[in-house]
Amino acid sequence: MEMIREKDPYPDLRVNIGKLRLQNPVMTASGTFGYAREFANLMNLHRLGGVIVKGISLEPRKGNPPPRIVETACGMLNAIGLENVGVHRFISEKMKYLKGLGIPVIVNVLGDSIEEYELITDTLCGVEGVAAIEVNISCPNVKKGGVAFGTDPQMAEAVTKAVVRRSDVPVIVKLSPNVSNIAVIAEAVEAGGADAVSLINTLIGMAIDLPTRKPALANVIGGLSGPAIKPVALRMVYQVAQKVSIPVIGIGGIDTAEDALEFIVAGATAIQVGTANFINPRASEEIVDGIRDFVVEEKLRSIRDLIGTLRVD
């Protein structure tokens, strides 16, 4: 914890996501950082603004058969199928360690029905160490559930309402990019009472193995992530930030501090690092360093002064 005391008071990197206070805007994206412990001996976890854990469902899920991932140009497709230990084992097996980290732990949740979202929220209520809930209404990998919620404003608002009503911590709703107008979904979610929106989840994609003429993924389709999707993510963050007044959390192809800062300029209050964790396990910490250096060099009073400062003439 020394390091934090040393570095954080100056410069001021703090941001707020509703009632949730972060020491800096850098979080790790769900499904790309395990349950954090995997990274303990590779970086200083205490340096992070927050950790978002792998998506949790009410019951344990076995996930999709292999192959689950395939590399694409400057990106990758995944169809993990939301493999997870289920909310009960998550609480009993994973929370103790996470709680000990002393940084906000955000639990990413998903369900096949509003009822399931409600039940999982109830289960997380009062669990010590849970700083916020991120509602995944957008994961493209599971054929039922996920997708529908994220692509229909009414359903998106309904899920949000249901979770917000039951949750005793801030609720972040994670949006799907596979829609005609993401701002409309964001507005619906805001109307539903969300404390913040995070975007983007993966773009739905596909790859084919020509020699066998088979899909490269057992699930046929999967979620595209990595630098390839950054331009789409940046555009959506910008468009959503214009329309909603709740904080926007930017996600998509963030590899470096420059990438992160671009999202903040576009209107993001915080960001999440995903696929980059696979290529460089220290990516998230290095991004914190880079943002700190930028704030110092640019003589900003706070990183908050950079949010939404895109100069459009």
Binding site: G31, T32, F33, G34, E38, F39, N41, L42, K54, K62, G63, P65, P66, P67, R68, I69, V70, E71, A73, C74, G75, M76, N78, I80, E83, G226, P227, D255, T275, N277, F278, I279, N280, P281, R282
Partner: protein
Amino acid sequence: MSQYQENATIIRFEQLTADNIRLTLESENIAACAKPGQFVMIRTATGKDPILRRPFSIHQASTNGRIQILFKITGRGTGLLAHSKVGERLSVFGPLGHGFEIREDRPACLVGGGMGIAPMLFLAKKISILKKDSANDHIIFGGRTRQEVEPLVNDFEQIGMRLVTATDDGSYGKKGFVTEVIQTLSLARETVVYACGPDAMMKQLHIYCQVKKMECQVSVESVMACGMGACLGCNIPAKDGHYVHVCYEGPVFNAEELAWK
């Protein structure tokens, strides 16, 4: 279990055959804690394409801070590594995964098919060090042709185990598959088989060991993104109908645990 990301300098480049290459890397931290059967993830491009690291078994790890990888050119990433030069640096991440469980008290039979031979040199050396005498231990090394096998024979002969080589076309050593060769060796009942190679080979060895009631440890492959348990992308079917993850539950498994189709 400590892991490191190192910018390892290439200090030796060996072109063993047209498409088999061995690299020696200065990688102190990884070399210091690596165990046989573990692997490393290596970045192959300076840009973002190809973006993912590539997994390679640790072929050797020396006490003087060096590791070796032995690889075959199969695509873009290995193609790029094949163009790397001595003096250049590679981002190496490891050591990763669970290696072989060495049974010092039992006879060992190491079986490597094709590139599956890569982890066997490190394993053989470790076993021969742990045991006073490896005279009753075997190494079976099979390949498609002479070119694939011959360049590595010297390294294995030095270890002091009984080396048996085989090629599909008989151009070097015995003619036939390692799975046929093993039958001819009349191994002691309590022998432990340590194997790495094509799935078909390992499946045959598994069946053989089941009949002979021998323990069989296999090192398997899968596609990988992170190599350290973060992405859950490296699953393969386990016996009980569930999945195991190659990168952190493996890559070495007891053959009994896995579902063999």
